[in-house]
């Protein structure tokens, strides 16, 4: 960004902050402390070798409402790992593809960090959020092309995600409409992300449009791409013939490379409460079948690429069984190479604030296929909320 452009951006922010409602804060602070303690033990057999990882995770959330329009929120996480914490390349990559010179991909070390930490100042029309916040978008369940900053874990899309440091301004345009302008400092100013997102409600459908300029970040490599990516996209969600349906897509250009990503999906519920969800993801960067390049594998591993194949079908079935039990089955299928990963799950609400969850993991495919790694396992997780 040029010096003049930067001055304009700062001036714009100052004008908006100056327009914030400065009514006196309510005398009484509304403060809420919550969180959970989680323990997880996972056991996985990868290519005839059993691996275990055991962790404790403590999360504490403090939310403060300090008067009309102003609030703060912070979440602290401590996570302690034990077991086979050295992640080998062979645990994630097919034979013949290695990450760097070392066979060790990464080492899980104890972490303590702020999952999010932001302050919000605002009026009814404008709201400014500064700090590590959630910029999670998109109507799709597993694959969200419009999520630019913290991609979901496709194998457990509902799990907590870390926020991203940003300055965002939301303009209210109506009860169901708003405009968001965001700046995501990352690396140099030129590498930082900028995004504009419009959300509206039209004829019973929620519709969003998004334009962004970002530098993709590799969470694994802890690096930020020097090449900018221009992204244009959006999503639409609503009801069609009684079914919940959604579609979400983007068109991206990075250097001389352009590609599109599109997700379409829908849900259906049987009379007994069984929920069936199907989603198809089309990745313009993917291949119709293997083998996939080393670069593609590494991009997927580092979170800058969602899939290797150009089509992925997601199916999910979930049903409450008996008292307090929920059974589920999720499958991600790559029709191109015929591989799939199957994730059965059993959840038990042990007590009002206690959850137990077992998730299995079974890969079905041949060597070199997207889900072809010889892998079977699962984890048992307990979580107590406070």
């Amino acid at each position: 960004m040029s010096r003049i452009g930067w001055i304009r951006a700062v001036s714009f922010s100052l004008v908006m902050v100056a327009s914030i409602d400065v009514r006196p804060a309510q005398a009484q602070l509304d403060t809420r402390l919550s969180g959970y303690l989680e323990h997880q033990y996972s056991l996985t057999r990868v290519q005839d070798r059993w691996r275990q990882i055991d962790y404790d995770r403590f999360r504490a959330d403090l939310n403060v409402r300090a008067g009309k329009g102003s609030r703060a929120s912070v979440s602290v996480i401590y996570q302690l790992y034990r077991g086979d914490t050295r992640l080998e390349s062979s645990d994630f990559l097919p034979d013949g593809i290695q990450f760097g010179q070392d066979s060790v991909l990464a080492v899980l070390t104890n972490r303590n960090y702020l999952n999010h930490a932001y302050v919000v100042l605002g009026s009814r029309l404008i709201e400014v959020t500064a700090g590590k916040q959630y910029l999670n978008w998109g109507a799709a369940w597993v694959f969200n092309p419009t999520e630019l900053f913290r991609p979901k874990n496709a194998l457990e899309p509902g799990y907590d995600r870390e926020g991203i440091a940003a300055l965002s301004v939301r303009f209210a345009l109506g009860p169901m409409s708003e405009l968001l302008v965001g700046f995501v400092p990352n690396g140099s100013i030129d590498q930082s992300g900028r995004v504009v997102r419009l959300r509206h409600h039209v004829a019973g459908f929620d519709v969003t449009g998004l334009v962004a300029s970002i530098s993709d970040e590799s969470l694994l490599l802890k690096t930020v791409s020097s090449e900018r990516r221009l992204v244009v996209g959006g999503d639409i969600t609503g009801e069609l013939l009684g079914l919940g349906v959604w579609s979400e897509g983007t068109w991206s250009r990075r250097g001389d490379q352009t590609w599109g990503e599109l997700t379409v999906g829908g849900n259906y519920s049987l009379a007994d409460g069984t929920l069936i969800l199907v989603e198809a993801f089309f990745n313009g960067r993917g291949k119709s079948e293997g083998p996939y390049s080393a670069q593609a594998w590494l991009e997927k591993l580092s979170g800058t690429r969602r899939t290797l194949g150009n089509t992925t079908v997601v199916g999910m079935v979930r049903r409450s069984v008996g008292q307090l039990w929920t059974l589920g089955m999720v499958s991600l299928i790559n029709p191109g190479d015929g591989s799939a990963v199957v994730i059965p799950s059993i959840a038990y609400s042990f007590a009002e604030n206690v959850d137990l969850l077992f998730n299995g993991l079974l890969n079905l495919g041949g060597p070199g296929d997207e889900y072809g790694l010889d892998q079977i396992g699962g984890f048992l997780r307990g979580r107590i909320y406070f």
């Binding site: 102003s70 609030r71 919000v120 999670n136 007994d272 929920l275 409450s320 909320y385």
Partner: protein, 260 residues
């Protein structure tokens, strides 16, 4: 004098008879309201102009386990409602917004709101027997249903009229219902909700009926899902203010996601 005594005796006798049988006699004299009139009176009690409530939803499992969820809610008319769970800790901060037929849920730990649509509306609200569709349906009976009076009945000691309702529109949650309406207070005391096939889906019992200003309102609703016998859900209102000042900003996506 004798004449006067006789007249007074007759008058006294008439008063005694009137006091004993008056209500019955008067009811017999007044024409029974039409089904449309009954639904209109029910709507006058049950639909809101504005409301602010605090309530506890108790889910009782067949094995004896109990889950209690406490929430605050705000509503305007039949079109707008907002609900925020305050306990238990697992669900605290989860919020729902309904605008007409559109419904969204905000999940605080994901930092994201999700639209609830289509068949997802059939899922249980926070694991209860109330579906998202129950929470999002328009409760104006007179606008949504045609009714016929089936019979008179007595329910929980209250004189009742049993009405069978058939939906005027296809997009309502239940194509038909049978309701027991208190014939004096005009509040529903029991309701059976049916699928298009005629299969019973849910049964609701309303009780703890209290007078609030110019209306009667049930403070307790017990709901049974006929398709699964594992749970029973009770909704008990703790506080109900039908003349609350409910600002418009509550019913916005912004408020759903920020809570302020």
């Amino acid at each position: 004098m004798d004449n006067l005594f006789v007249k007074m005796t007759r008058l006294s006798l008439f008063v005694v008879v009137a006091l004993f049988f008056g209500p019955w006699t008067m009811n017999e004299c007044v024409a029974q309201p039409t089904p449309e009139e009954i639904l209109r009176r029910v709507d006058e009690n049950m639909t809101i102009r504005t409301a602010q409530t605090k309530a506890v939803m108790t889910i009782t499992y067949r094995g004896g386990d109990v889950r209690e969820l406490e929430f605050n809610s705000w509503g305007v008319g039949t079109e707008k409602s907002f609900l925020e769970f305050v306990s238990p800790a697992r669900d605290a901060g989860s919020r729902f917004l309904r605008l007409d037929d559109n419904m969204w849920i905000y999940l605080p730990r994901a930092g994201k709101s999700i639209r609830i649509q289509g068949h997802m509306l059939r899922q249980g609200l926070m694991g209860s027997d109330f579906s998202y569709g129950d929470a999002s349906e328009n409760p104006s009976m007179s606008e949504d249903y045609d009714a016929v009076i089936e019979r008179s009945d007595t329910l929980s000691g209250r004189p009742s009229l049993v009405l069978y309702l058939t939906a005027k529109r296809k997009d309502v949650s239940y194509p038909s219902r049978r309701i027991w309406v208190d014939a004096e207070r005009w509040v529903p005391l029991k309701e059976e909700r049916y699928a298009r096939s005629g299969k019973l889906l849910k049964t609701a019992h309303m009780s703890d009926v209290r007078e609030l200003g110019d209306r009667w309102y049930p403070f307790r609703i017990d709901l049974n899902n006929a398709l699964q016998s594992e749970t029973q859900t009770t909704l008990q209102f703790i506080e109900l203010d039908f003349n609350a000042d409910v600002p418009d900003y509550i019913f916005t996506i912004r408020h759903l996601e920020s809570g302020t």
